[in-house]
Structure formats: C-alpha cells, structure tokens
Amino acid sequence: MAMNYNAKDEVDGGPPGAPGGAAKNRRPDNTAFKQQRLPAWQPILTAGTVLPTFFIIGLIFIPIGIGIFVTSNNIREIEGNVFMYYGLSNFYQNHRRYVKSRDDSQLNGDPSALLNPSKECEPYRRNEDKPIAPCGAIANSMFNDTLELFLISNDSAPYAIPLKKKGIAWWTDKNVKFRNPPGGENLEERFKGTTKPVNWLKPVYLLDSEKDNNGFINEDFIVWMRTAALPTFRKLYRLIERTEDLHPTLPAGRYYLNITYNYPVHSFDGRKRMILSTISWMGGKNPFLGIAYITIGSISFLLGVVLLVINHKYRNSGNTADITI
C-alpha cells in the first residue's frame, strides 16, 4: 500500500513551490471543510455503547408512567372544581366540508363579513335573502340541549347545583378571536340585517341574558365552534365551582339531571352523554399515557438487559470483534 493520501502532511508543509501562489490559483484550499475532514461525532451503536441509554430511559419512564397513572386515577374524586361536559358520539365534527363551513371574519366581528359571509358557509350562508349570522354548518348544528343538575336530599327540595357558564372557553378565543360586531349598545341592533341559522330556535343575540356572554362571544357557542378532532368527543358545558357551603363540590348523594331535548342525534346514530370530571394538570382521566410510559420503560429496561447479555457474550471479541467478527 504505497498510496499516500495523507493530506495532513500537506497542511503542515504547504505546497512545495510556495512563492508561486499566483500561478497555482486552482489548487483547492486545504481546509477541513473542503477536504471533508470536519471533526465529527460518529455515533457507535453497539450493545456496549447504548446500554446506559436503555437503562436511563427505563429509569425515567417508569416513574413518569406511574406518576401519570396515579394522577389519572385520582381524578375520580370529585373535589375542587368539577367540570361538566356533554358528550356526543359518532358526530363527525371533523368532516372536511363541515370544518370549513364557517366564517372567522364574521365571528371576529367584521361588519362586512357579517352581512356578506364567506362562500365557505354555503349552503348555510343566506336564508331568505338575509345573511345568516353566524353562518355555516358548524354554527347551524350547534348543540342546544340544556342540562341542569339537582342534588336531591331527603329533607329539602332539590338543590340546583350552581353551574357556571363562563370560563369554559379558551381565554384567547373569547377575548380575541370571537367578537361581536361593532355598533350600538343593543346587541340586536348590531346584528341587524342578519338572520338566525336555520336550525336555531333563537337568534344569536338571544343566546344568553348576560351581555358579556351573548352574541358571538357566548361561550357555549365558542366551545362548539372549536371543532372536535375525533367523532366521539366531549365538550365542556359548565363549571361547578368549589364553594364554601358544599364540601366536597359534589357530595355523595342522589342527583337529578334535567335535560331539555332539542338536539336530534338519530340522523347519525349518535349518542349523548353527560360527563362530570375534575381536571388535573394532565387534563381528564385517561390511563393510557401512564400505562404506555410504564410499558415502554419496562421494555427499554428489558432491552437493556438483553444488550447487557449480548455485550457480555461478545465482550471477548468485543472491540476487536469489530475487526474479526
């Protein structure tokens, strides 16, 4: 092997005829980059080198998994703020054309969009020559059952659990994204010239009695407009705040749920549910993540052991094994 490709020598020595730089202008620069000799990290993925990684993953994942699992299971105890959801199944809120059927500008209070909604809203754009506010299929199909919860105690009349309507939507949605159209004090005036969605019982400015929860900034509406990702979903309906007089928030007892049926689900073979849940830092109850973490942690631990065996078995031929197999 007489071939000498030891370019490093040239770095030190430089070209022999150094003064003739001008004549030798075509000589490529001898830099690490151009000669592809940049210092590089060469990951070696042998059993020996990756062993620690697996044990570390195992050691980290298993506790995390346990932590998540426990948290998730603790959610059952109805203490602190309780969240009241309505659930729908088999409702494809994520249908491509359904998802598009809205006009964000209109919902943001743009007066021109209010009277001339986007074409995306078709066929729920105009009704009887009046623009629909809010337009589109999403708004049109808004969930409009009402749920009321009563605690039945033996001695007194059923106690209506106070359900808080506000604070269920994202803050940014309520304050930035959704806005009522500008104009006078009266909300009805502001929506003048528009008509209610076909399926709605009442126009948008009559959704709620409270002024800051009416019109487009009605939180039930906002929540509905945030289209669910999966066909079986729940949406936050009310908040049951922890109060002084009730402890825990929902004490054990008999409850009475009063539902005003407005919303038909037969057409799509749907189901309605009501869910009560507390919320931890990781959202609602879901054991999946915890179990997954524990599983992966264990697998990785196991693999670590397997690798340890491999490494031990091939140790003798270990690094030299790289050469001799």
Partner: protein, 1420 residues
C-alpha cells in the same frame, strides 16, 4: 435562432444534401450546382452537401445574395432565452419534467371545487417554489452566457471594406461569409476561413488550437494552393474565384472543397487551408482569409455541445420506487374513496355534518367516493417526493463541489484538478464494476523516451541512457519542482499568453558528465537560457528526460565514420560505402525528417527558426539551383493574374517589408527580447538583425567544411531548439536524432534542413508528406536527397505494416540474403523491445526514380483535388508510394508508467472492479505494460486469443473455457454464465486466476453476434482482459457489449481522441487531461489529470456519493411516507372526508422548510467511513457495486418502518386524547411536533458522522418549526380560514401533557430502528460498519487492526460465501511453480491441437516484469 430549430435545419439540410447526391451523378459540377440553385432560387442553401462562397464585394453582389445571402453571419447566441421569452420558454421546459407536470395536475385539480382539499393558492406554493428556484438557476446560467456572448460578439477584427478599399475594424458579429479578414500575429480567428495569404514567404501560418481542443502545440496551415507564390498580399478587389466546400459540419479534422478560379481552374482545399474560429494566429505576422463559415456554422460552434445529461443507475432505481409510491398513493386514495362511500351510505338520514351542495342537493355516496379519490390525491400528494428531484440536484451540486475541491486531485504540474463535466452521475462512480482503460497516456505517462534502436540488424542498447533514466527517477521529483517554480520575471507572470518555449533542460541532469557529446552545447544553453522562464505548463516535449538522450557508444563510433569525404563523388562512392554506414545515415535522417515536428527556439517565443531559402541554404549542386529556379518559375506561372500588377495597397505591408520581416524571423537568442512577435512586427527593429544575419549565413555556409556548426553564435544552438510535435513519440525520435548530431534545424512546407554532424547542414527539398493515419499506421515523407539528388521516400510506421511493405528485391544491389538477414534480425529486436514494453517503430526508405515519382505525383494530384472519396483516393495513392521499401532499422521508445498506476490498479481490482485494457499497441507491448502495472500478475494463467478466422476463434474459446471450468469445478457456487449473464462469477474467489489477451483481429470475430456470449463467458472467468491492436470503434464496441449484455456499470478512461467513442459509450466516461489534447476530456463526464486519481475518485468519492445519495433518497421516501400516513390514518376518524388535522401552511412548510435542509446536508456531508480507511480497504467498494445501500428490499423495509412510525405517531396521541374535548388542530399539533422530532432523530440514527453543520441544521429546523408555529399561532386570528391554529402552540407549550406525548411518541417510533441498528452493529456488522470502527482507533491500533483485517480476509470470505455475499478478497494467493508450468503447457498444447490456428505463445517467464526494462512502479 433557437438551437433546436438550428439543429433540425441542419439535419434537414443534410438530408436534402444526401438526396441530391444520390440523384446527381456529378454533384460538384458547377453547372449542375447552378441549376440546382436555380431550381430553388429562394433557398440557395438547398445546394446540398456543399456551399458556395463568393466574395462579399460589389461585383459579386448578385451572386453573393444568391449563394451566401442566407448563410449565418458571425453573431453568436448561445443563450436559450431572451428577456421576452424567458418566462414562457422556461416554464415550457420545466414542464417537460414529469414531476412538475404532476404538480401542475395537482394544482389544477385543487381548483375543482368538488375535490378541493386545500385552499387553492396553497397547493400552488410548492410548485411555485420549485419552479422559481429552477428558473432562477437557469436564468443566472443564461445571463452568464449572454454576457460572454456579448463580449465575444463585440470583439474587433479587421475586415475588408469595399467602400473604403481597406481593412477596417469591425465587430465579430458583423462579419459575414465572403468577407476578407486580415489578422495579425496573436489575434484570434473570428470565423472559419480559407487562408489566402500569409506573410510567410512559404505561405504557411501557424495556429494554436488550444482554445478549441486544448492542444498547445502549433499547427501549420497553408495558403490555398495557387496563392502561395504571391509576393504581396492578396487583393480582395481582384479576387474573382469562388469557393465550394461542404456544408457546415462539426468535424474539426475535415474540410473538403475547392477553389475555382474565374478560368474554371480548380484547386483543392483541405483542412490545411482552413483557419478555425477560436484559434490564435502564431508565428505569422499577418494573414488574410475569406470567411466560409461564420457564427454558429463554424466548426468550433458546431462542436460546442453543452454539458451532458445522463441518468444514473441510482436515479433509475429511485424512479422505479417513485412509481411504487404512485401505486401506493393510488391504493391509499382508493381506500379513502371506498371508505368515504361506505361511511356515507351508512347514514339513512342526512347528518348535520354532511353538508349538501349549495343548491341543496346531496351527492350520492358513489359519486362522493369518486370525488374523494381526487381529494385524497391532493391531500396525500406529498407521498410522491417531488422535492426529491430538487434535493437530488442540490445534493449532487454539493458532492461535485467537494470532489472538485479535493486537494488530492490537484496536479501541481498542470495546475489542474478534477473537472466534473457531467453534473448528475456522481453516484455512479460508486458502483463501477467494469473499467476499460486505454493504455498510452492513461496508464503510462505518454512521455516518450527514446530507449533503444536497431539499425541494419544491429541492436544498440543505449545502456548508459537506460542508467540515466533510472537515476532520473530519483531526481525527478526535485527536478519537476524546480521546473515548476515560476522563477522568472514578474512580467512573464503577468502575461501568461506570452508563449515562451520551455528551456530544454534544467536541474541536475544538464550538467551530468555523461552528456559528453552535447555537453558543450548544454553549457552554452544553460548560460543563455538561464534567464529564460520555464513555461508554467509543462508539456511532454520539454522535460529533460525526453530531450536528452545519451548516445550509445558503439553506434556513435560507427556514426563517426560518416565523413563528408565519403560523399565527395556521391554517385561513385555509393557502392563502396559500407551498407551499414549508409543505413545509419539514412536511419537518422529519417528520424529527423520523417515527422511533422515544428521547430522553434526557446528564446523566441514560438518562433519558427528557419533559414531563408536564398541566403541560408548551402547550395550543393547545380541541379539544386536548377530545381530552385524551376520551383520559382512554377510559382510565377501558376498565378499569373496575381503575380502581375501588384500594388502595395495602403495598410498592407509591401513586399519589401515582407521580406524584411522574413529575415527578422531569424532571431538572435537574446534574452532582451521578451516577445518575438513584437519584434517581428516592427521592421525597424529587425532591420539590424537582418544585416547581421546575412553575414552569419555566409559563415554558416562555410561551416560545412569545418563542421563546427553549433559554435556559431548566430545560428540557433542545437540544444536550444524546441520540437513541438503532434505526438510525443515523434518528438522523442527527433531528440534522439539530435543526440547523434543529426539535428533538425528547420522545417517549412518546401524544405527541411538537417544539421548532420560531419556533413554539415543538409537541405532536403520536401516534395510530399503523407501524414500518419490510423488505417495505414505509418507516415512517409518524400524528399529529394541533397547528396544523391534522388527522390527518396522515408517511411516510419508500425512494424507489422512496414514489414509487409518491404521489397523482396534489393534496390541498390545489396544481396537479397543480407536484406533478409537484416529483416530477421530487426524482427527479433522488435520482439525483444516489445517484450520490454517499448513502443516499436520501423524505419524504412525507398529510392524512386524521377519518372516514377512524376507518375505517382500526377495521380496523387488527382486524388488531392477530388472532393468525393478523397480519403479513399489518397489512401490508394499512399499505397502506391509506400511499397518496396528497404528496412533501415527500428526504434524502441519507452512510455513510462504513470506514478501510482500499479497501486491504483491493484486497489481497484481489490475493489472488485474488473479492469480491461484496450489499446492500439501491439500485443507484446500491451502484455508487458499489463504486467508492469499489475493488471496481470506473474502467476496468472495467460490465455491468448489470436486467430485468423472466426471458427478458429470459436474453437479456441471453447477450449479455454473448458479448461477454466475444469480447473474451477471445485467451486460449487459457480453458475453457468449462459443462464445468468448479468451476474458473472467473481473469479477472485476461484482457485485459478486467469488473464485474457485478445488481438484486434480476433476481437472482431469475438464481437460478432454468434460469439458474443461465449466471449463474455470467457472473460467473466478472467480477472483481466487485454485487448491489443484495437481500433477506436472496437474499443467502444467492447464497452457496449459488456455494458448491454452483462448489465453492469462500466467506466471508460482514456486520454486521446481514439478513446472518445469508448468514453461516450460507457456509463461513466473519464478523460485524462494529458498530453494528447482535450478531445477525450471534452467527451468525458469527469476529467482527471492522472490515472492514480481514479482510485480515490472511485473508492472514496464514488463510495461516498453513492452511499450518501442512496441514503438520502431512501430517507426522502421514508420521510414523505411517514408524514403523509399521519394524514391517512386520520381519515379513518373523519369519515374519509379528506380533512387534515394540521394547518395547511404547516403541512406545506413541513416538507418545504422544516425537514428539507437536513436530508440535503445528510446527502452532502454524510461520511460513513473515512477517506483513509476507504483507500486502505478497497474491498469496501464492493458494497456500492452490489447496491447494498439501496436494494429493493431496503426500500420496502424503509417503507415498512415509515408505516410503523406513522402508526405510532398517530395512535399514541390518539389514545391519549381519545374521548377528550380536543379540537382538530390541537390534536394535530402534537402529532406534527412528534413527527418532526421522529423524522429528524431518525436522521441522526442513520447518520454515521455528525458535524457541527448537521447540528446547526437540525437544531435550526426544530427552532424554525417552533418559531413559525408560535408566530403563526399568535398573529393569525382570522387569517387562513378555515384552518386556524390560533394560540394552539402557545397553549401546548404550557401543557406538560404535550411534552409527555411528544417524548413518548418519539421514543416508541424510533425504538425499532434504533434497536435494528444496535443489533446490526454489535452482532452482524457489515464490512462498512467494521471499517467505521477502525476510524476511531489511534493510528497504531489502526495499522494493527488493518493487518488483522487482511489476515482474516480469507476466513471472512469463507463465511461470506455462507452468508450469500462475497466480500472481495485481499492479498494475493501464493501460486506454486507447478501451476505456472501447467499454464505454459496449456498454451503450447493449444498450439498443437489446433494446427492451423495460430496461437501466440508467450514464454511465461515468471520474473519477466522484474527483468524487463519497463520502468516499474516505485518500489515501496
């Protein structure tokens, strides 16, 4: 005019021309031509295969318009686009690519409301980006061309203006056909023109064609016959002839036509009369010519075909996989369509979320499913990796950048480095299986060194010379360094164009005492040339190794017997002279004059040294004077119209000045003059020297008697002369002759002057030159011998040809037996030379009587003036002359092996590349070079195919084949090739190693349809094949055969014009920019300066490029499939409605921005094994040959992994968020983020080396993703409806769940791939992986490990057979003496068996390469 149009026009014209030729019996009859022109008067260019050029002057106006009006003018436009047509034309061209059309189709599809998946505008984005990038690239390229064109078009030249009656300055672009152009020295020729006048009294002019073909030697051009003899410049006004010549074509070496004077007398025109556009006038004060081809019709422009486009094997592979992706896409879309239909038909009522059409109608499920199919195609479009093509192009540019910047390819001597001319086949370099190499100039240096000669049957071994050459080898490095250092004045560096001839010597050799003969002149030369600057570009003829020949003492002794006294009464003494002495004399004269060497002196840049025919020539006899006058009178009479009435027109130097300048050409060797051309242009300055010269010449005439020519100060010293030849062996012979004091002093078309030691200067009247061609394989000069005054033909050529042409009867009375003896002895010597790897040439002569000559001349003139079949006629004419020759002797020239060739060949063979050597040299020379460069090893069994008939060839092949199969029956895995042609056996593994030698004639049989298979089968058993005596066509046919029938990757490497066809045919063509000009380089894909660079180019860069690109392509497929499948899985949860859970912008940018840079970086910078290791372990190359990095299986595994990862990436978040109140885009965000991490970390796992650049790019990609998502989420409140990711990323970044989901998803997705790599690396490491480990060791450990590796090579091999793949062997097998003997026996036995078959038996001298004189590889 646009190029394609031009092209079609050209071809159409050729077609028409061909038809014309068939119809017309005498197509070149002028009247028929006119008639032809008359028939189609509007388009005179229809005149067929020829064009008529008449002067662009008033008297011919009508005729001019008729003939030349439609010819192109000299304006050139190489740009594709104009400002106006750029956009449409560029778009048009871009949409020729299928990929772009697919994109366009998607865009259009998205405008159909029914199937619209994204917003219309967004789908256009990728297409627009891709188109813009390419358009910008094209535009910039074109703009650069435009600027160059403009510059060239506006160059100024002197064109004759009929109005002003003088030559005026005009731009190149305004030159038209028929214009008269006057050029001065060092000016560039603006268009192809016929030379009508040269200030040179002999009517010659020199041009340098380096701009055209890179050859730096001067070429001689001649004034059209009939104009030669004029004393003053041609007057355009009086020019009444017309020129007919062939239609524009791109053959640089051909020009046929004739010049018809007004009196219908015709004069033939050949390429000797044509000045080519782009060349430079040298050594000639001024020339005048008439333009025949201009602009795009010039030969230079027609030869200018832009860069070449080839599809690499890898890309073809990738293309099939793209088709698989298309199929996959269709399946997925069909699934979506079907799913949607089923989903829809489940509902009896209309659910809320199924929106009716604007008119309230509902589409039927079937129709909706059909629409959905197209929607899905738009949605999942990314599955077809459109950006792959753009990325591949970018990656290849990066790879080429690194190849070109490799300092190892830099050649100090030539200041050149590797050139990548084809931009898109870098990865093919990593997959070469067959290498076809030229010999001369490729494996050897093509620096011809005179080694031995045989004269009149006596061999002169030149031992001292041989020793000198050996010692030179040690000194060579310093010497070259010295020669290379530009030690000269700064003015010379500033004028690289100033052609100074290299001094013929420098360094230690010049002062060696061995040079006793030329010693004195050397000393002088050194003194004179000390200030002379060696030219920065070394050429073959300048290095001392070639120019200095130490004469053989024995020959010198004999040589010294030649005295002028011997010739005093030339006719009587001829018989008494010993034959041998005569032979020696003739031999050296032949060496000196039988060539086309241009003489120049070093101190006069490219200045031809010649003596005026009137003053300098020592007149030998009255006859000579008579001859001279005859010649002059012929000259007069041949051009009566021009000779009379000459007027010195303004602006043209008159005759007197001409003559002055003529004298001034004889330059003094004075270092004061830096540029001879300047001097020669000023008659004032040279007048002094003229007087001086006159006296000098008188002296030199006297020098005849005292024989001390070289001591005269006025005469250029012999050692100072430079010889520039078209082929290096010519120069070598002239230098050799010079060493024996037979110095070629000057050469003009009319005469050659030789300074013959004892006899003084001899002037040979040059009657004819029959140039060398590859068919005749010889060249001849016809001269009138000054001593005997006979017409003598000196012929020099390949021994096989010359030997057949020798006369049977002895012409000058010597006994036949003696001739026969000389012949036999010389043949023996020739065989001996060839065995030592020397190039052999035979020298012969023939004396003709004047009548014989006259008769021949008559016929020859006929041949010369014909346009039709001129080549054949000339060939016949040559055959008539070159016969009945008398053998003088033979020469052996050595062509040394290039540095590092044996090592490179060894490494390449170890790398599993089969090397074939294709050469035009004779068998013995070829075989010896093959041994010397380790192509064949001494213990290889050598089979020689040399038969005269096809049947014999077939028989011999089958015998050899049987023998080989018998010997190798032991190997079980040997599959009969006939069944499995594309997987030839790997003969390295076999017990016997064989080499095959086949000669050109036999090759012809072997290439025939019926024998091809057998031939290939045979060669598959041999580790090396040598094809000798192969013609260029055969070379390319061999390459074609192997390429097409074995379906292997082929590489052809060569340096000369004869390799061009082979280079073009091979998958990868490599040109060596060596001594033989640029034709091979022009045709090549890559150009290197030395053969040894090939090993790094293939083993390192080829390997890298291939692995990089294949990994990148696989990664691209993986990336796109993995990402797109996320969308696909989501379809199962949205009723197959085509919803994407990701914002469209993020979706588009994900491919376009966030994950586009890392694969490109990966494709450019990935380095699996270091360069050092790759060089040291050529075996690693086999992985590329077998396409291990990118097998079909690899593709499917990659896709499978992509499917798995996308499943994980989708379902982990799905189960996490199942049943929660998560909305679409909030659900998509962790999916997207996890996908980003998975895709990028996948790259990290796959990378074998990560530099800071990788890190920057990967981190940059991640950061850009988050920044974009945050910025978009913060600002986009109502924009981009309906997909609105407002504030989602912000929410998620505060949500621990988001992190937990992303981390878990990433880990699960990458776990299998990671484990696969870990297990692979620790349990079944591939050789590449094992080599990678070597890189981590310290140098000492590494050498140790390498040793071990090589030792275990065989064991490894045994295992590998088991494992189903064969690693290339290392180390060569010790071979017992017994097998050598058997090989010999075998060869003899064939000979016996096949009586009539001539089997060439070479003695298998096992230590031959060592004992042979071939300069072997530097021993390590």
């Amino acid at each position: 005019m646009t190029e394609p149009l031009q092209w079609t026009r050209y071809h159409w014209r050729r077609l028409i021309g061909g038809a014309n030729r068939d119809n017309d019996e005498r197509p070149y009859n002028y009247s028929s031509l006119l008639a032809c022109g008359g028939k189609t008067s509007q388009t005179p260019k229809l005149a067929g295969k020829h064009r008529v050029v008449v002067p662009h002057l008033r008297p011919f106006k009508e005729e001019y318009e008729k003939f030349s009006g439609a010819y192109m003018n000299n304006r050139i436009r190489t740009t594709k686009y104009t400002l106006l047509n750029f956009v449409p034309r560029n778009l048009f061209e871009q949409f020729h690519r299928a990929a772009n059309l697919y994109f366009l189709f998607l865009v259009v599809l998205n405008w159909v409301p029914l199937v619209e998946a994204f917003q219309k505008e967004i789908t256009m984005l990728p297409l627009v980006v891709v188109l813009t990038i390419i358009a910008i690239k094209d535009g910039l390229e074109d703009y650069r061309k435009y600027k160059i064109d403009k510059q060239i078009n506006n160059l100024v030249t002197k064109v004759y203006s009929p109005k002003e009656k003088k030559y005026i300055d005009r731009c190149w672009k305004d030159v038209t056909v028929g214009d008269f152009i006057r050029l001065s020295c060092n000016e560039v020729i603006p268009a192809d023109m016929v030379l009508l006048f040269s200030t040179d009294p002999d009517g010659i002019c020199h041009i340098e064609t380096s701009g055209l073909d890179g050859e730096s030697n001067l070429k001689q051009r001649q004034v059209a016959r009939g104009y030669t003899e004029q004393d003053s410049e041609v007057d355009p006004e009086k020019f009444s002839s017309r020129i007919e010549c062939e239609s524009p074509n791109n053959d640089l070496n051909r020009f046929r036509g004739f010049l018809e004077h007004s009196n219908k007398k015709r004069v033939g025109l050949s390429k000797e009369n044509l000045l080519l556009r782009g060349c430079t006038i040298r050594n000639t004060e001024a020339v005048v010519g008439i333009v025949v081809y201009a602009g795009h019709e010039t030969k230079a422009m027609l030869n200018n075909s832009g860069p070449r486009y080839k599809r690499s094997k890898l890309e073809r592979r990738a293309n099939t996989d793209v088709l698989w992706c298309v199929l996959l896409l269709i399946i997925m879309c069909f699934t979506g369509a079907l799913g949607h239909e089923i989903w829809l038909s489940r509902y009896e009522d209309v659910p809320f979320f199924n929106i009716p059409e604007p008119d309230g109608r509902l589409t039927s499920p079937l129709l909706a499913g059909f629409y959905m199919f197209w929607t899905m195609i738009i949605l999942l479009q990314v599955l077809i990796p459109i950006s792959l093509y753009v990325s591949i192009e970018i990656v290849k540019l990066g790879q080429i950048y690194f190849i070109q910047n490799d300092v190892d390819f830099y050649n100090e001597k030539m200041d050149s480095t590797v050139q990548c001319r084809a931009l898109n086949i870098t990865e093919d370099l990593g997959q070469i299986q067959y290498l076809f190499s030229d010999k001369t100039g490729t494996l050897t240096e093509n620096k011809m060194v005179f080694r031995r000669c045989s004269v009149a049957g006596f061999d002169y071994s030149h031992k001292v010379n041989a020793k000198r050459l050996e010692s030179y080898q040690e000194a060579v490095s310093e010497d070259e360094d010295f020669a290379d250092t530009p030690s000269g004045s700064p003015s010379d560096m500033a004028k690289p164009k100033a052609h100074s001839c290299r001094t013929a010597h420098n360094g230690p050799l010049g002062s060696k005492p061995l040079n006793h003969l030329s010693g004195s002149s050397f000393a002088l030369g050194n003194g004179e040339g000390a200030s002379e600057v060696p030219h920065s570009r070394q050429t073959a003829f300048s290095s001392p190794i070639e120019t200095d020949v130490v004469p053989d003492t024995r020959l010198l002794e004999k040589f010294s017997q030649i005295t002028p006294q011997l010739f005093t009464p030339p006719d009587e003494m001829a018989h008494s002279l010993p034959l041998e002495t005569l032979c020696i004399m003739d031999f050296f004269i032949a060496l000196a004059i039988c060539n086309t060497v241009v003489v120049s002196a070093p101190n006069q840049p490219r200045q031809k040294v010649r003596l005026s025919s009137l003053t300098g020539m020592p007149i030998k006899s009255l006859e000579e004077i008579k001859n001279l006058f005859q010649r002059l009178s012929v000259r007069r009479s041949s051009s009566p119209s021009l000779a009379s009435g000459k007027e010195p027109s303004s602006g043209v130097p008159n005759a007197f000045v001409n003559r002055l300048s003529l004298f001034s050409r004889i330059k003094l060797a004075s270092p004061v003059e830096e540029e001879g051309s300047q001097m020669s242009e000023s008659p004032q300055g040279s007048s002094n020297s003229t007087c001086h010269e006159e006296t000098e010449k008188q002296n030199s005439g006297a020098g005849v008697t005292n024989g001390k020519v070289d001591s005269l100060p006025g005469q250029p010293l012999a050692s100072d002369l430079c010889y520039e030849a078209e082929s290096p062996d010519e120069a070598a012979l002239v230098y050799a002759a010079r060493a024996y004091q037979c110095t070629l002093q000057s050469r003009t078309p009319e005469q050659v002057m030789v300074d013959f030691a004892a006899l003084g200067p001899l002037t040979f009247q040059l009657l004819h030159i029959l140039p060398f061609d590859s068919v005749r394989k010889r060249m001849s000069v016809v001269v009138r011998h000054p001593l005997s005054n006979q017409v003598v033909v000196y012929t020099k050529g390949a021994d096989s040809v010359i030997m057949e042409l020798l006369s049977v009867a002895s012409p000058d009375g010597t006994s036949l037996e003696k001739q026969q003896m000389i012949r036999e002895k010389t043949q023996k010597h020739l065989d001996d030379y060839a065995k030592r790897g020397l190039r052999t040439l035979c020298i012969a002569k023939k004396v003709m009587s004047d009548t014989e000559y006259a008769e021949w001349l008559k016929n020859h003139f006929l041949a010369e003036t014909s346009i039709d079949n001129r080549e054949e006629l000339l060939f016949e004419s040559a055959m008539r002359l070159e016969n009945k020759l008398t053998l003088l002797g033979a020469t052996g020239i050595e062509d040394r092996l290039q540095e590092g060739v044996p090592e490179s060949i060894e490494a390449l063979q170890k790398a599993g590349i089969k090397i074939w050597m294709l050469t035009g040299d004779k068998q013995e020379t070829a075989v010896n070079i093959a041994y010397a460069c380790k192509l064949l090893e001494p213990d290889d069994k050598l089979f020689i195919l040399n038969t005269q008939s096809k049947d014999a060839c077939e028989m011999l092949m089958s015998t050899i084949l049987k023998e080989l199969q018998k010997n190798n029956r032991a190997s079980p895995e040997q599959v009969p090739l006939s069944e499995n042609l594309h997987q030839p056996p790997v003969p390295q593994d076999l017990g016997l190693r064989a080499g095959l030698v086949i000669t050109g004639k036999t090759l012809e049989f072997a290439l025939q349809e019926s024998l091809q298979r057998q031939f290939l089968e045979l060669t598959a058993w041999c580790r090396a094949v040598v094809c000798c005596r192969a013609t260029p066509l055969q070379k390319s046919e061999v390459v074609k055969l192997v390429r097409n029938h074995l379906r292997v990757m082929t590489l052809a490497i060569g340096d000369g014009a004869n390799d061009v066809s082979m280079i073009q045919v091979a998958d990868v063509g490599i040109g060596i920019s060596g001594q033989e000009g640029m034709q091979a380089v022009m045709a090549s894909d890559f150009a290197i300066s030395q053969f040894r660079h090939l090993s790094k180019l293939l083993l390192v860069h080829g390997h890298w490029c291939y692995t990089r690109l294949s990994n990148m392509i696989l990664y691209f497929f993986y990336k796109n499939v993995a990402y797109v499948n996320l969308l696909f899985w989501y379809q199962f949860f949205c009723g197959f409605s085509g919803t994407s859970m990701t914002d469209y912008w993020v979706l588009i940018f994900f491919n376009l921005l966030f994950t586009s840079a890392p694969p490109v970086i990966y494709g450019v910078l990935e380095k699996d094994v270091s360069a050092e290791t790759l060089i040291q372990l050529p075996e690693l190359y086999t992985s590329g040959q077998k396409s291990e990095a990118y097998l079909p299986l690899t593709f499917w595994i990659t896709l499978l992994d992509a499917f798995y990862q996308s499943l994980v990436c989708f379902f982990v978040p799905y189960y996490t968020y199942q049943g929660s109140d998560i909305d679409i885009f909030t659900f998509g965000n962790p999916l997207n983020t996890a996908a980003l991490f998975i895709i990028l970390l996948h790259l990290v796992i796959e990378s074998k080396s990560l530099t800071w650049i990788h890190m920057v790019v990967i981190i940059g990609s991640i950061l850009s993703y988050f920044l974009f998502a945050l910025a978009f989420g913060a600002t986009c409140i109502t924009c981009n409806p309906p997909s609105n990711p407002y504030w989602i990323m912000q929410e998620h970044l505060l949500d621990p769940m988001f992190y937990l989901v992303c981390v878990l998803t990433t880990c699960i997705a990458l776990l299998p791939r990671f484990m696969y790599r870990v297990f692979q690396e620790s349990l079944f490491p591939s050789p590449i992986l094992r080599a990678k480990h070597l890189d981590r060791l310290t140098p000492e450990e590494k050498t140790e490990a390498l040793k071990k590796w090589k030792k275990t090579g065989k064991m490894d091999q045994a295992m590998s057979k088991y494992a189903g793949y064969s690693a290339a062997t290392s180390g060569r097998r010790p071979m017992s003496g017994h097998s050598t003997v058997s090989a010999m026996m075998l060869a003899t036995s064939y000979a016996i068996e096949q009586g009539n078959v001539s089997v060439c038996e070479t003695v298998f001298d096992s230590d031959m390469p060592q004992t042979s004189g071939v300069a072997g590889p530097p021993k390590d």
